[in-house]
Amino acid sequence: MTSDSNPRTIVLDGETVAFERGETLFEIAQRHRRDVPSLCYDDRLDPFGGCRLCIVQLEGARKPVASCTTKAEPGMRVTTHNATLDMHRRVILEMVASENRDVDVDELSGYASQEMSTLLDRYDARSGRFDGAHSGTSRPDDGNPFILRDYDNCISCYRCVRVCAEQEGDYAISVMNRGFDTQITTEFGGFLEDSSCTFCGQCVQTCPTGALGDIKALRAKDVPEPVEKTRSVCPYCGVGCAVDILSKGDKVVGIQPAMDGPANEGALCVKGQFAFDFVHHPDRLKTPFVRNDHGQLVPASWDEALDKAAAGLLEAVNEHGRHSLYAVASGRAPNEAGYLMQKFVRAGLGTSYIDNCSRA
């Protein structure tokens, strides 16, 4: 088979594969389940070509090329894995690791926080062959309650800066200097709170090393149970961002955006990202309450409360008719709650004396 019999194909590790106009070699390789390593890549962001881990061999090219920034052209012959490529990747990783103080980062740090340490293990790159220089100075002085800024772990992939600019449109953080002096910083080198940061957490979730970490989730670092993820939907506004609820045992410990969430495609805002722990607040009601003879609300059993509520509502209906009872459904509760509230008045009383909170 020749390449010009079907112009839009390349040969990937010996296999002829089709591609779409504009696709990069990295995207094609991913689509065909080639496990090409990457650190500066986030499929929501413009390719950056910074880390060079995604290098592949192009037939006819003198040196390997970064696959994430190389667009496919008909007839290219590409090798994603061989001993030379793996050797290059290992050296790159060893150098990256030398910059990185804490190679093992708790998975609660953020969605992508394990990318770096996973690669180090896969390429057996914890050799300590290069040591010394670090880029970035940590900002333990930034007292914000959400985002850890531990730039000792920064590897200058700029994913945080890029996600903030390209996805959020906030431009709260930027890059200063180059090489080992590289520093991720806000305007004027200050705290996030004083920048245009909205604490959406996007930078935290895309950081591959845990240099940026989710402070609220990390509070549960020492809780022994494993982290479980449950897909659900944010409880705040009508956008309906899909989230993964992180829990350990019976406790919710954090929230991560669902990268494949149909409404949000990986994005969240400060409420969805960080305002979750109300669910464990001591003020939560744990039992029913009924008003006693002294006019006080006191805890009661379900039986007692249901009986009392049924009797009180029926009394009104019996004395003043079906149209004396009114039900208000919640714009916060699930569809099943709203459906049953309307069924309650319609099937129970034959009225439409029902509304929800959309008018206020």
Binding site: R284, T287, A316
Partner: protein
Amino acid sequence: MSNPLRDMEKPDVIFCIGTNMTECHPVAATRLKKAIANGARMIVADPRVIGLVEHADMHLQLRVGSDSALLLAMAHVIQRAGLIDPGFIAERTTEAEAFLEHVKEFTPEWASEICRVEPALIEEAAILYGTADRGAIYYTLGITEHICGVDNVQSLCNLALMTGNVGREGTGINPMRGQNNIQGAGDVGAIPNNYCGFQPVTDPAIQAKFEKAYGREIDREKGITKVRALDEAGKSIRAMFIDGENTVVTDPDREHCEHALKSLDFLVVCDLFMTETAELADVVFPATGFTETDGTQTNTERRVQRLRRAVPPPGEAKADWWIISRLAQRMGFHGFDYTDASEVFNELCRLSTTYAGLDWDRVEFGEYQWPVPEEGHPGTPRLHEDGFINGRGVFKLIRYRDPAETIDDDYPVWLTTGRRLESYHSRTQTGRSQGIDYLLPEEVLEVHPDDVTAWGLADGGWAEMASRRGAVTIRVKATERSPRGTVFSSFSFNDVPVNILTGAGYDPVTDTAELKVCPVTVRPASKSGGVAAD
């Protein structure tokens, strides 16, 4: 929304009116920012210098409550400049002739007197929207929470119809729904006029369908709205069952509302916390919250998604569906023997028109946007692509009306209310999440710096703000986000119950409260609440 959220990256002209999207729907706003990065132009109409303005090409800083005048004048310009879409109008609409005649009267000069926006700016905005290939309108409560809320929405529809900006990618009339499941609450029939799927209770065939399903006679008259029910509390309404709503804090005219609930013979409330409303109840049921509940929820683009339980609820808290059905059973009502949420959802789908093709398993991955009229239907991301549900789009002849109360010598300042990014509604949830206080420790009243000086206030000092219904003491923040003569605050903090002040009037069609406009006075005060001596 007529169009899906992903369409927000596609318009070439964006018209945002009455929506503080960067704070209220931040993730949706990021999509508009992407459209702008790709070259889209944006018009923002809002009395305040909201976050969106930084990204806009034009800011129409209209007086609060004057939206319909602005929109009439925009229609006038589009008509006069010949920017209408005759093909679309002929094929898809009715009443166009009368409408195009009607708008001739409403010049930008006329509107300018009411809106306080330069006629040239109105003209420019109209031409920008009128010449768009893909013009999209986005709005929220800034449009609807007025006595003329319905007129405002219809005025936006008129603009979209006359320019053919409906039913295509990157166009549409897109209300951004405020609460996570406010869309769903309407979809499932928790409204006085419709059963689930917006099937009117007044239609005899539909009445018969539900009488059969529910096994009893049901009124063919609409019920009354919550606003009317609160007015009738203690009179014809004697008992209420309220699920998950902090009515006292979030509804307008708090004193009236509290009084109404207190005058009931019996009140049952279901909530996560002992809210100000729950405290007035005779029985309070503890409900499960986010992370503890299996169920479904429908977002602003009509997408039905699954909620999943990750952890057990605290103590004996129970899911809403369980509480409502067990209470119904104890009251002797039939048809409430459910064993889990999926049975409830499947029944809803069977009876609905818009959810008819869905069931519990099909919404697993959240890929359906209603209407899904039958099994196997892929859902409807974009409404009105091949026609309007009711045949043709109808132009409505709107006239401008003043808000229920307008400023005068006694109450010379416009107050407008809204939400802030970091807090949500009555803060029963955000207020109990750690760290949020760091960003937003207390409510403030946003006042233009020149007004701060003119009214003898101090930035960071206290003010007493009063309307015809009450007064609150609130900290002052000088900011050019507020125009002169207009102040802003949210209604989220219980210690500054701003909704004591609001609630002068209601839209005659929907009974939506006029929360966005309220004439007030603002005077210096001391923290204890007293008004400072001059």
